[in-house]
């Protein structure tokens, strides 16, 4: 048993039957670290067709009032479908290594927004 397991709740303190009562809490699990490339979204080029939102496997295209406002880097795994399907080249895949965006900062920002 690892240290991590010790820190987890014991059998008396979790719901019976393996039930998960906090729906959608997978949001707290960040899959953004899987990425080797990230999509950069350009507000200027975006024509708001929303195809990226419809085709994103990670539910990582952020939309407000029917308009794309950015990418949720906490969950985006970097598959690149959005960039591949964008008819306006408003999404560009760039290597995480070459990214000039501070990764940590992006994730922290995202968390702030969702809290």
């Amino acid at each position: 048993m690892s240290k991590e397991d010790n820190a987890k709740k014991g059998w008396r303190d979790i719901p019976i039957g393996g039930l998960i009562t906090e729906s959608g809490n997978a949001e707290k699990y960040h899959t953004g670290s899987w990425r080797i490339k990230r999509p950069l979204w350009s507000r200027e080029k975006c024509i708001q067709c929303l195809f990226c939102w419809a085709y994103c496997p990670d539910l990582a295209i952020e939309v407000e009032d029917g308009l794309v406002i950015g990418v949720d880097y906490a969950h985006c795994k970097g598959c690149g479908i959005c960039a591949n399907q964008c008819p306006a080249q408003a999404l560009e895949m760039i290597s995480e290594d070459k990214s000039d965006v501070n990764d940590d900062k992006a994730e922290v920002d995202h968390e702030k927004k969702t809290e």
Binding site: E4, I14, I16, G18, T21, S23
Partner: protein, 393 residues
């Protein structure tokens, strides 16, 4: 309290289900349980129950749909036998681990193969490690009474586990007995309105059932199941007492028959114990101090109570209507030896595996077994630990 009426075991089970009036029943026909499904279908067709009946295409789907219905906040039941239970197997475990209070009568029949439709306990014994509670009963009255009590036990918040109510195929299922059913209103009051702890059909609390549970939590969930079974030991007695007040019929972990001053005793399950009671009476007439334990609760196994009940017995015969093929005795035998291992008394134990595939066992057989126990008591030696009783050499 209703008058005494003549019913077959299957009719008694169907009557209990009708009076319980579950929200959902999903079941598939299989000999010797078929009559239960037919009778219940007629209740549905006649509109005398509120139940929605799912005529599933297999027992696997019977248990799957029952799990779905129970997770959907319904009081849900099914019933089966033998190969039907075997086909359900995977989902039988899932019903218990998901903590769904399903009640399932099992009309016991030998498992194939070769295929055989008659009574033994290989079906129920195969499911003994599935996490279900298992109740056995000697006759139709016991099966009827057990189904009613099983509902309360299963749904008890400290238990929240499914219960299998076993009844011997053909010997009980197809034989007519006088039974005293409860009045509909008495049953309604006894079982009460079902209030699920969780439900898929609760718009205010959406819940995920059946997640992938890996190394970090699976073990904790298994430990919780054990906790439910520990509580069940108390709940079975509490519900039994309540039922006694209602009916005058006494149910605990087991029935002790002329055991107090007994030196030799048999322990076993179901209809054979009725015959064994008569054997005890006959031997007592000869001055032989014979007694009997008619075990009702097989899962969880009432260890402490059995240790106390057996403390003055010199020789115990353990009757198993199923084998484990371990070459180390039947399933009940294993439990009993395990129970008594640290007990420190000089009790001698002999195992009789009998009645497989519906092979008859009669009064003189059981008297003969008692006489063998008497011989062990007198010469202090067990000649053969595990005996296949009634098989042709």
């Amino acid at each position: 309290m209703s008058e005494q009426i003549a019913l077959t075991g299957n009719e008694a089970l169907a009557l209990a289900m009708k009076q319980i009036n579950p929200d959902v029943v999903a079941a598939y026909p299989i000999t010797p349980q078929t009559e239960v499904v037919q009778l219940f279908s007629q209740f549905v067709a006649d509109g005398v129950v509120d139940t929605e009946f799912v005529t599933v295409e297999s027992e696997h789907s019977a248990m799957s749909a029952t799990v779905g219905a129970s997770a959907g906040g319904a009081r849900a039941m099914t019933a089966t036998s033998a190969n039907g239970l075997a086909l359900m197997w995977e989902i039988v475990y899932i019903a218990a681990s998901t903590r769904l209070p399903i009640v399932m009568p099992v009309v016991n029949r030998a498992l194939s193969g070769p295929i055989n439709i008659h009574c033994d306990h290989s079906d129920a014994m195969g499911a003994r490690d599935s996490g279900w509670l298992q109740l056995f009963g000697e006759n139709a009255q016991a099966a009827y009474d057990n189904v009613i009590q099983a509902l309360r036990i299963a749904e008890h918040r400290d238990v929240m586990l499914p219960v299998m109510v076993n009844m011997d195929g053909f010997i009980i299922s197809h034989a007519v007995e006088n039974i005293k059913p409860l009045a509909d209103q008495d049953i309604r009051d006894f079982i009460g309105e079902y209030q699920p702890a969780y439900s898929l059909l609760d718009p205010d609390q959406t819940t995920t059932y059946g997640p992938l549970d890996l190394q970090d939590f699976y073990f904790e969930h298994k430990r919780q199941q054990v906790d439910g079974l520990e509580h069940a030991l108390e709940v079975v007695l509490d519900i039994g007492r309540e039922f006694y007040q209602l009916t005058g019929r006494d149910y605990g972990y087991f029935e002790k028959y002329r055991l107090d001053d007994a030196e030799i005793a048999l322990i076993g399950l179901a209809s054979t114990m009725g015959t064994a009671r008569e054997a005890v009476n006959n031997l007592r007439k000869e001055g032989i101090k014979a007694g009997l334990i008619n075990l009702r609760l097989f899962r969880p196994f009432p260890v402490q109570a059995l240790r106390e009940a057996l403390q003055d017995i010199k020789v115990l015969g353990v009757m198993d209507r199923a084998d484990t093929f371990s070459l180390n005795g039947g399933p009940l035998f294993g439990e009993i030896r395990n129970t008594l291992f640290d007990f420190g008394n000089k009790l001698k134990i002999v195992n009789y595996i009998y009645g497989l595939g519906g092979r008859d066992i009669n009064l003189s057989d059981l008297e003969g077994i008692f006489r063998q126990l008497l011989e062990v008591k007198e010469n202090g030696k067990v000649k053969q630990l595990v005996n296949y009783y009634g098989v042709r050499e």
